[in-house]
């Protein structure tokens, strides 16, 4: 604190707290909706204080689906989301670690050519080439599979750049020393390089897990099989069916369940999250 200005300080706190309340308000309303029964949630005005149906709704949503006509258990969708997020995060990290290692530590023909090719992917986000990428995946027979769902998202220019930066700061003496000790390239990679970059890997994992969990457009295009539906996609279908069957308590329960895993990751791994976010943007 530079000077004593109790009134300014008080106003600062007050404005931030009001900001926090406004930002949290939509989630509060969602939580409240998930604690009432379906009939109460069709009567306007809807409640703004929680009811006592939370655990009943939670159990029903997780195991029996949201309504008589939609009996897909949300627990299953959560599992699908988790699998997809894990494959994308771990896949992106492995693929980028390997290519950054090759580009930084080996002299080989087309090295810069490969580097620029990876760089180009920055300019081709899925959103701008949806239809042709869909056709490619369809031709390869990968619709409705985890491979089709995750592989096109696994190449990553930002992750490769980040690892390249990290490797460039690793002292040359480490490689010299391990060479003298008779270690080959892969031994050096696994025993030295990966351990020294583990905090970067962890930070990136947090960001990529959230990225993978929240994927929407791509899964929406290439899966139409009910066994592949993720929770983020499931919400959209539920919102559409809300006109006929307004089971808002369970729809909002599903929304809550879909939000909680990535929010927990952000809040409890905040240090890693902030590090990952600021580093990948560099």
């Amino acid at each position: 604190m530079i000077e004593k200005r109790p009134i300014t300080t008080f106003i600062s706190h007050a404005v931030i707290i009001i900001g926090i309340i406004i930002i949290a308000f939509p989630v509060w309303i969602t939580f409240v909706a998930a604690t009432h029964d379906a009939i109460r949630m069709t009567q306007s005005p809807i409640p703004i204080w929680p009811g006592d149906q939370f655990f009943i709704n939670l159990k029903a949503t997780l195991w029996d689906g949201i309504s008589e006509s939609d009996t897909r258990p949300v627990a299953f969708m959560l599992l699908n989301s988790f699998i997809m997020a894990m494959i994308i995060a771990l896949g992106k990290i492995s693929v980028s670690l390997l290519s950054a290692f090759a580009i930084v530590y080996f002299r080989f023909p087309f090295r810069m050519g490969f580097f620029w090719m990876i760089f180009l992917t920055l300019m081709l986000p899925v959103e701008v080439r949806i239809l042709p990428t869909y056709e490619v995946v369809a031709k390869l027979g990968m619709l409705n599979s985890y491979a089709g769902l995750t592989l096109p998202l696994i190449a990553s220019a930002t992750a490769t750049f980040m690892f390249r930066q990290v490797f460039l700061t690793v002292p040359d003496e480490l490689l010299e020393a391990s060479r003298i000790d008779g270690a080959g390239p892969m031994r050096f990679f696994f025993d030295i390089l990966i351990p020294v970059s583990r905090t970067n890997i962890a930070a990136l994992f947090v960001i990529l897990f959230i990225y993978g969990w929240n994927q929407y457009l791509w899964p929406l295009l290439i899966t139409n099989d009910q066994s592949m539906v993720t929770v983020v996609m499931g919400i959209k279908e539920m919102l559409e069916s809300a006109e006929q069957a307004p089971v808002w308590n369970k729809i909002m329960m599903t929304t809550l369940l879909a939000m909680i895993p990535p929010i927990i990751v952000v809040v409890f791994m905040q240090k890693m999250f902030v590090k990952g976010l600021t580093e990948t943007e560099k």
């Binding site: 930002i23 980028s96 290519s99 390239p185």
Partner: protein
């Protein structure tokens, strides 16, 4: 770029870059080339015959009133989202930077919306503004204001702007806050001794020093509003009513998958690629030097 001490040529580096390069070729280069090629083709209504038409698809696109409107709409939407999310985040970060007690707690309470998927952000907001049930619709009704974003295009646009802004504030806050915390305290103290009040210090010291961050965030926010808001629009309005919220990305999806207009959708994809390349070039030319965190 290359380490002074490095390994020599062998098959190994090729094997190491292979996974990334194969994925890039199959899922990035091939589709992008395909999009460029298809953008020069026209398919007849039954999908039986395709004809090479050079740049007719682009000509058609640039003369298409609906496309041009969605172009302006996207620019308008991005400007609003970038403006609101940047200014709200700036205010919150400046205040959180001032207070000492609770700053970390405030940060935690402000950054979690980053983790919410766009389509879920859409679900949260569409529920509050549901025309028959929404809590805010109800309140507005008591105040004598009629809300129905399913019929009113302007209201639909405000709703997607609100949801998109809500989600982006946390990201901007995090970067502003980090940039402000990295400003050396003696600078601020010296100004305070010279008699500059908090507002004056903010505009003459803090704000100029975080300009690189602001510019970087501006680019990121525009990219976000262009490309990452598909989920919000799809959940809240599906581009409607009467195309009132159809952005460029939404239109590529809609024309390609719902309208099955291959050539037109491919031409739009190519236009979007040009936009992304343009933004990336700007980003790399002007944001080379960023603040240290």
């Amino acid at each position: 770029m290359l380490k002074r001490v490095h390994f020599g040529t062998s098959w190994l580096p090729f094997a190491l870059v292979a996974p990334q390069i194969i994925i890039t070729l199959v899922f990035f280069m091939w589709p992008a080339a395909q999009a460029m090629f298809q953008s020069l083709l026209v398919q007849d209504a039954f999908g039986l015959k395709t004809e090479f038409v050079w740049f007719d698809n682009f000509k058609e696109l640039l003369n298409d009133e609906i496309y041009l409107q969605s172009f302006y709409r996207t620019a308008f939407f991005s400007t609003l989202v970038a403006f609101f999310s940047l200014s709200i985040a700036l205010v919150l970060a400046a205040l959180a930077d001032r207070v000492i007690k609770g700053a970390t707690f405030y940060r935690t309470m402000l950054i979690w919306p980053y983790a919410v998927a766009p389509v879920l952000a859409g679900a949260l907001w569409v529920f509050m503004f549901n025309p028959s049930l929404g809590i805010i619709t109800y309140t507005l009704d008591l105040l004598g204001y009629d809300w129905n974003h399913k019929l009113n295009g302007g209201q639909a646009m405000s709703l997607v702007v609100m949801a998109a802004t809500w989600k982006q504030i946390s990201y901007n806050f995090l970067f502003f806050f980090a940039a402000m915390q990295s400003i050396p305290k003696p600078l601020i103290e010296a100004a305070a001794i010279d008699g500059a009040g908090p507002a004056r210090r903010f505009w003459t010291i803090i704000f100029p020093l975080i300009t690189p961050t602001t510019f970087f965030l501006l680019v990121v926010n525009i990219v976000y509003a262009f490309f990452d808001t598909f989920g919000i629009i799809h959940a809240v309005t599906e581009g409607g009513p009467a195309n009132a919220t159809t952005t460029l990305v939404y239109k590529v999806y809609n024309d390609g998958f719902i309208g099955l207009d291959l050539g037109g959708s491919a031409a739009q994809s190519v236009v979007l690629m040009v936009i992304v390349i343009f933004i990336t070039v700007i980003q790399f030319r002007y944001i080379e030097k960023k603040v240290d965190y």
